[in-house]
């Protein structure tokens, strides 16, 4: 870590209450990384403001001293978005943790960025309402971080991502100005800056308040489990369910290794011999759920499901989901380390992408477990490796990069919900052309002219892409489409 200028630190100390600034090494250690713990760096100092005024003053000071700033929520991000930067102040928003207002009639909640995702739904529950996006880290992750990453979850096909579920954001620019993006109405005058700041990974402004949309809890939600003796059949079933006019609340697929690991871990009652498992949740009013489940049952049977079960009660539904939700830690039990990828593909391309992943797995000698948000095409291959073996992390990253490039080649994207952060910068060079990356840089400069907010994350420099010599694969259009790639 390189030190911050002494006069800057002195002024910062005067801005904040005594417990508002951390500089002792033992206090800084917890801030070395987010949930992508393969990347670590000790921040030179951590500021913990409690108010918008303090944040404004901190940003002003950073601008005057030309000190970069990395904003952080609860540090659960999976792409290193909150990884400290050399010589940058780490600004944690965890202390802005109040739910300011819940309006049950208008179905909105106004919250500070440090409020946990699940806490919003808990506070809304007495009114029969909830906040829809449910990333798997929802007990711990902050809503501010969710906005910065445009977080998803299990229910995106039907209920959307963060960008579809927020109305208004208050943010502070590097100039210390407070801006309001979006509105409490359905739209706002001017450009859709609410969409632009959502998923901007802390690079445009610091989010200090969010108004989220709340939804009525569905009258009923029921989950159906279907086992298949081939991944391809399960993939066909996913397409057929959609073709039958059903929009499931959630539709998840697991492969054999994931099923086995999850079953050993939480005993969800999964059929362990199966090659693929499909979990389909249908929600809505009572009658709609009965009709929907009947259709789903017929479709999966027709697609060759070897076993179909419907959760009979809430306890069984919870158990069915427990296996899926525990898939990552379950893999963590059978491998010293695992590396989680986050590509999205058109659902119909799943079989060929899985074949390619299996080939890569063999080529690199690293096992892969596949967990798939089948409803929205978001694939989470987990590469199993051992960080203690020299060179294995590098090998894993290289293989992960190839998986992401495969996703781009079939018309998908390198990240569905985890963000680019520091992790997928190289693959950004593959997904976007120089001209497109330049637009991203120009947009950042429009918000943050001195370039002090989380610099170097999310959008690679053109220099980096040139050095990498990455082949820009545009939406499936390879430079030489006649050549077989996999």
């Amino acid at each position: 870590m390189s030190a911050l200028p002494a006069d800057f630190l002195e002024k910062l100390r005067r801005l904040l209450p005594q417990d508002g600034l951390l500089t002792a090494p033992e206090d800084l250690a917890p801030y070395e990384c987010d949930a992508l713990s393969a990347y670590r760096r000790r921040p030179p100092a951590v500021a913990l403001p409690r108010t918008e005024e303090e944040i404004s003053a901190i940003l002003n000071l950073c601008r005057m001293h030309n000190v970069p700033v990395v904003a952080r929520g609860h540090g659960t991000g999976l792409s290193g978005g909150a990884l400290p930067i050399e010589g940058a102040l780490l600004l944690t928003l965890a202390r802005l943790n109040r739910i300011l207002m819940i309006d049950p009639l208008a179905r909105t909640a106004r919250v500070q960025p440090g409020v946990r995702n699940l806490a919003i739904s808990q506070a809304a529950a007495p009114y029969g309402l909830y906040y829809a996006p449910d990333p798997s880290s929802q007990i711990a992750c902050s809503i501010g971080g969710n906005v910065a990453e445009n977080s998803g979850g299990l229910h995106c096909l039907k209920y959307g991502l963060t960008v579809h579920n927020i109305l208004e954001v208050r943010a502070i620019t590097i100039d210390g100005d407070i801006i309001t993006l979006g509105s409490r109405a359905f739209d706002a005058p001017g450009y859709d800056l609410l969409a632009l700041i959502t998923g901007s990974e802390g690079m445009l402004a610091v989010i200090v308040e969010i108004t989220v949309r709340l939804l009525p809890k569905p009258e009923r939600a029921q989950v159906l489990l279907a086992a298949f003796d081939s991944i391809a059949n399960a993939g066909v079933a996913v397409g057929q369910i959609i073709a039958a006019g059903i929009i499931p609340a959630a539709m998840e697929m697991m492969d054999k290794l994931s099923i086995q690991a999850a079953e050993d871990y939480v005993h969800a009652g999964y059929p362990v011999g199966a090659e693929a498992l499909l979990l389909v949740e249908v929600d809505g009013v009572n009658e709609e759920v009965s009709d929907g489940l009947r259709v789903v049952y017929e479709v999966v049977k027709a697609c060759g499901a070897t076993e179909v079960r419907t959760a009979l009660d809430e306890a069984e539904r919870t158990r069915f989901w427990a296996g899926r939700k525990a898939a990552f830690p379950a893999i963590g039990r059978i491998s010293p380390d695992y590396y989680c990828m986050d590509g999205t593909i058109p659902r119909g391309r799943l079989p060929e992408v899985l074949v390619r992943i299996a080939e890569l797995s063999e080529e690199y000698g690293l096992p892969v477990a596949n967990v798939f948000h089948a409803g929205d095409g978001n694939l989470h291959p987990l590469i199993l490796y051992d960080a203690n073996k020299p060179g294995e992390l590098e090998k894993t990253e290289e293989m992960g990069g190839k998986i992401l490039e495969t996703c781009i080649a079939v018309g998908g994207t390198i990240t569905g919900e985890h963000g680019v952060g520091v992790e997928k910068l190289n693959q950004m060079c593959v997904q976007f052309s120089s001209a497109e990356l330049e637009v991203f840089h120009a947009l950042k400069a429009a918000f943050d002219p001195p370039g002090l907010l989380n610099p170097g994350k999310a959008v690679p420099s053109l220099h980096r892409c040139a050095e990498l010599g990455a082949m820009h694969v545009h939406h499936g259009q390879l430079p030489h489409p006649e050549l077989p790639r996999f």
């Binding site: 049950p104 009639l105 208008a106 179905r107 009114y127 029969g128 445009n150 995106c156 096909l157 991502l161 960008v163 579809h164 620019t173 100039d175 309001t180 509105s183 409490r184 109405a185 359905f186 706002a188 005058p189 001017g190 859709d192 969409a195 632009l196 959502t198 998923g199 445009l204 809890k217 006019g245 929009i247 009013v285 009572n286 009658e287 709609e288 009965s290 058109p346 948000h373 929205d376 095409g377 998908g412 994207t413 990240t415 569905g416 919900e417 985890h418 680019v420 997904q431 976007f432 001209a435 497109e436 637009v439 991203f440 120009a442 947009l443 400069a445 429009a446 918000f447 959008v459 939406h475």
Partner: protein, 350 residues
């Protein structure tokens, strides 16, 4: 070179020429929404020729089409597969295009319950002010790589560049739909729209006009039947015609000029002092025909957390939208320059 590549090359030349001659280009599909926004003094760049569905995958729930593709063509294609555009866009003319729909960002009656145009847009291909062809987003529902420039283009009124292609998420058509009518005053209707939206009722549109609340229910036959029992009121014989007249503004209540659109938090009180409104979007949009000064209306809306648009007028419109406060206005200017540094598309339409 096929006709689309030829068009694109010629249009790129046109942009570069405009840049060299310091002229501005106003982008036009069919002109069906030419009334919307501020009047502009610029050369017209027609994009209607750049038409055609590029890709439609019913099982992926995605459709990609060139900007000049007529909405009618898209909707007919979707209907064959029992699918629809979730945002139920107003056409305001038989030849309305996808590009015009996305550029104006206008959504129809289903918006509060199924999302707006911007919610359905997954990706765009754009010609920027340097005549570069750029792609943002994609054809998948979940995608967080790069800033969301696709959604930035929605409602930008052609001031950031030329939309060439748009990918949108589509949805299956509901199995059954029915429209109910209940008699009640405006403020009670606003309250009830909000109360129903907070409970598991399969709403797909709500409106109030002339003393009556109209409610459309959509879903499986059984779900719609159950909700009808819950809500009560009288089933109107031609529901689709009612919602179409509201969406296309052909009902006499919306013939008033000037016509103001107040976009409000859904639960805001009904401003009866402004005259009889038409209310839609669960209370989120209220239409008024009034001669009251713009400033008065803007102040009123602002106080309630909303904003005002002068939607239609017999006079040329010079200030359609609520002006942005500083520092937001300066930020908008910088964002515009990021995509169009020479101001080719800086027509002042918004």
């Amino acid at each position: 070179m096929n006709i689309h590549d030829q068009w694109l090359a010629a249009t790129g030349e046109r942009v570069l020429q405009a840049r060299a001659e310091k002229r501005k280009l106003s982008i036009r599909g069919s002109g069906s929404k030419g009334f919307y926004g501020n009047v502009v003094d610029a050369d017209t760049l027609d994009v209607a020729e750049y038409a055609g569905v590029v890709d439609y995958q019913p099982r992926e729930l995605t459709l990609t089409a060139r900007a000049g593709t007529r909405l009618e063509v898209i909707e007919a294609l979707l209907a064959k597969n029992n699918q629809m555009l979730p945002f139920e866009p107003p056409h305001f003319g038989a030849d309305a295009t996808l590009g015009g729909c996305v550029s104006t960002g206008l959504s129809g009656p289903r918006r509060p319950y199924a999302g707006a145009v911007r919610d359905a847009v997954l990706g765009t291909k754009v010609l920027d002010g340097r005549a570069q062809v750029l792609r943002f987003g994609g054809q998948v529902i979940k995608n967080v790589a790069g800033y969301d420039v696709s959604r930035l283009m929605v409602g930008a009124m052609g001031t950031l560049g030329v939309l060439l292609e748009v990918s949108v998420k589509v949805l299956p058509c509901p199995e059954s739909e029915c429209t109910l009518m209940l008699e009640m005053p405006a403020d009670r209707a606003v309250e009830i729209m909000n109360l129903w939206a907070a409970s598991p009722v399969p709403l797909s549109a709500t409106a109030w006009r002339a003393g009556h609340l109209y409610v459309r229910l959509s879903g499986t036959e059984s779900a719609v039947q159950a909700a009808m029992q819950k809500i009560g009121g009288a089933k109107i014989p031609d529901g689709p015609a009612f919602w179409q007249a509201l969406r296309e503004q052909t009902m006499p209540d919306l013939a008033m000029r000037p016509l103001w659109r107040l976009s409000m938090p859904t639960a805001a009180k009904a401003f009866t002092a402004l005259g009889q409104p038409v209310i839609e979007w669960g209370g989120g949009v209220r239409w008024y025909g009034t001669d009251m000064p713009a400033d008065t209306l803007r102040a009123l809306a602002k106080q309630a957390g909303g904003h005002v648009t002068l939607f239609r007028s017999h006079q040329p419109i010079t200030q359609a939208f609520t002006p942005l406060p500083e520092p937001l206005a300066a930020l908008h200017q910088r964002i515009r320059l990021a995509l169009d540094p020479h101001g080719v598309f800086d027509t002042g339409r918004m």
